[in-house]
């Protein structure tokens, strides 16, 4: 528990964690906090209501309504499920692939390592957004596809981090002694090296979540990600784009939510790095 308490002494981390916990709570308890956004009643009477207004049926709209009379707060809350879920799952995939490839490349440094590093550098050479567009163009867009695509395009930096770390650790005496004791190679890698190499991965994951959420929103904004009517923060912004003149709150609310969550994830990542990275502690 000690790392967590020292982390909480950092005001950046406190702010970031509070925002992230709130966002996660909204996502999890969305059905309790907001009415089901798929229920449609009187479109004409309830559309384009400004924030903090009450419609004819007596229901209150915290963030107003969009052009179909749907409550923006409800769409935002249910969109948080998609956006946060996609971000976290995509980063998990990236971390799994990146750790696997980086660890293998760092541990078996001969041909295997070179080949894996070559693949990593090749994948790193392709600009991520272009790669995302390319992959998104091959299949029907959906939330699952976005998760896989983001996961498959985000593992390279993690692989390189883990590779450097594992390579440095493999030369350390405690690894040598484990090998001398007759411990088999996979076990050396998994039990003795990897647990020591995970620090930068945690930091990269925290920073990656914010990035992934932003990219998901970007893809959905371009219409290549989560498809409406399923709400995601990206397609919420996109749907508010056409009504920017008469209903600016439709695009503003999800954007502010997005910025808050990405800032929070970045701050937590920064604070984690300052705490965990011995080179930066000081």
């Amino acid at each position: 528990m000690r790392p967590l308490t020292t982390l909480l002494q950092d005001s950046r981390a406190r702010f970031g964690l509070v925002v992230l916990v709130l966002a996660a709570a909204v996502a999890v308890f969305a059905p309790l906090l907001a009415a089901d956004p798929t229920i449609q009643r009187d479109i004409v009477a309830t559309r384009f209501l400004p924030p903090l207004s009450t419609d004819l049926h007596g229901s209150f709209h915290l963030l107003g309504t969009d052009r179909f009379g749907r409550d923006v707060w409800a769409r935002l809350a249910f969109g948080a499920r998609i956006s946060l879920g996609v971000g976290v799952l995509a980063v998990l995939i990236s971390v799994a692939i990146g750790t696997l490839i980086g660890a293998a490349a760092g541990f078996w440094q001969g041909r295997v390592g070179l080949a894996l590093l070559g693949v990593t550098d090749f994948a790193l050479a392709l600009p991520r957004v272009v790669l995302l567009l390319l992959l998104a163009s091959l299949w029907q867009p959906s939330a699952a596809l976005v998760i896989v695509v983001l996961g498959l395009t985000g593992w390279m930096t993690i692989a390189r981090l883990v590779h450097g770390e594992v390579r440095a650790l493999a030369a350390r005496p405690f690894v040598e002694s484990a090998v001398a004791l007759g411990v088999r190679e996979p076990r050396v890698l998994l039990r003795h090296i990897l647990p020591n190499a995970l620090t930068p991965v945690i930091v990269a994951a925290a920073l990656g979540v914010g990035n992934a959420i932003m990219l998901e929103a970007g893809l959905s904004f371009l219409g290549l990600g989560v498809q409406p009517p399923t709400p995601s923060w990206g397609n919420l912004i996109a749907s508010g784009r056409d009504t920017l003149v008469n209903a600016p709150w439709v695009a503003t609310a999800p954007g502010v939510a997005l910025v808050l969550v990405v800032v929070a994830a970045t701050l937590v990542g920064d604070a984690l790095r300052d705490r965990l990275d011995p080179a930066r502690r000081g």
Binding site: L126, P127, V129, G218, I237, P248, G255, V259
Partner: protein, 223 residues
């Protein structure tokens, strides 16, 4: 056009690292927010403020409808007015990342022995910062600059979509929407080539700026 955010970012980051304290914290709040701002959303907000509210700047396209009839200064002014919003958006979202990076690099360099020696020699704080800290801190930034060459291409995808800017990014997005595979492949190939050129440029620049890399034995220094 892409140099503006980098130069501004370097200046802001250097300023932060030099000042420290409350000013640094306050500016950090701004840079981390800029870093987290999605370009397409910032673009929308700017359109809302400058086009719909202030009615000052055009919201989309590279030229007005009457561009064909404009001549001389009017034509240039028209182009510049159309360039303003996309350029502001790109600059704002680019500044955050660069400033954060430069600040971190400068704080790292500042604690190294050669800076202490420079200070002990009695050099003025400005001289120490510019010649001994900033110069060393900028080496990784050069690499970043080379690597961001392909971002010229991909980073502007969302911005081009917002402002209906007739650029390669928009061509690519439209091609994806239309399942126009040859165009997608061409755009990918061009950007991959740019990446390789950017990497090469970054390596070259780093070697030029950092004598240590020149004298390093073949195979590079171990990390």
């Amino acid at each position: 056009m892409r140099c503006a955010p980098k130069a501004l970012g370097i200046a802001v980051g250097a300023f932060q690292a030099m000042r420290g304290g409350r000013v640094d914290t306050a500016v950090s709040v701004i840079t981390v927010t800029l870093f987290a701002l999605p370009g397409y959303w910032l673009g929308l907000m700017l359109v809302m403020v400058f086009t719909y509210w202030a009615r000052a700047l055009p919201s989309f396209g590279a030229a007005g409808f009457d561009a064909d009839f404009l001549t001389g200064w009017n034509l240039i002014a028209d182009r510049l007015r159309h360039l303003a919003l996309p350029l502001i958006t790109l600059t704002l979202i680019g500044v955050g990342g660069t400033a954060r990076f430069v600040r971190g690099a400068m704080l790292d360099v500042r604690s190294s022995p050669h800076v202490a020696i420079a200070r002990a020699k009695g050099l003025s704080p400005i001289e120490v910062t510019v010649r001994h800290v900033l110069r060393n801190a900028l080496i990784p930034v050069l690499t970043l600059l080379g690597l961001s060459l392909p971002a010229l291409f991909s980073g502007a995808v969302f911005i081009e979509a917002i402002f209906a800017w007739p650029g390669v990014g928009r061509v690519m997005v439209e091609a994806v929407g239309a399942r126009d595979y040859p165009v997608i492949m061409a755009a990918t190939a061009v950007s991959a080539t740019l990446v390789v050129i950017g990497n090469l440029l970054a390596e070259g620049l780093a070697t030029w700026a950092d004598p240590r890399l020149r004298t390093a034995p073949a195979g590079g220094t171990p990390t």
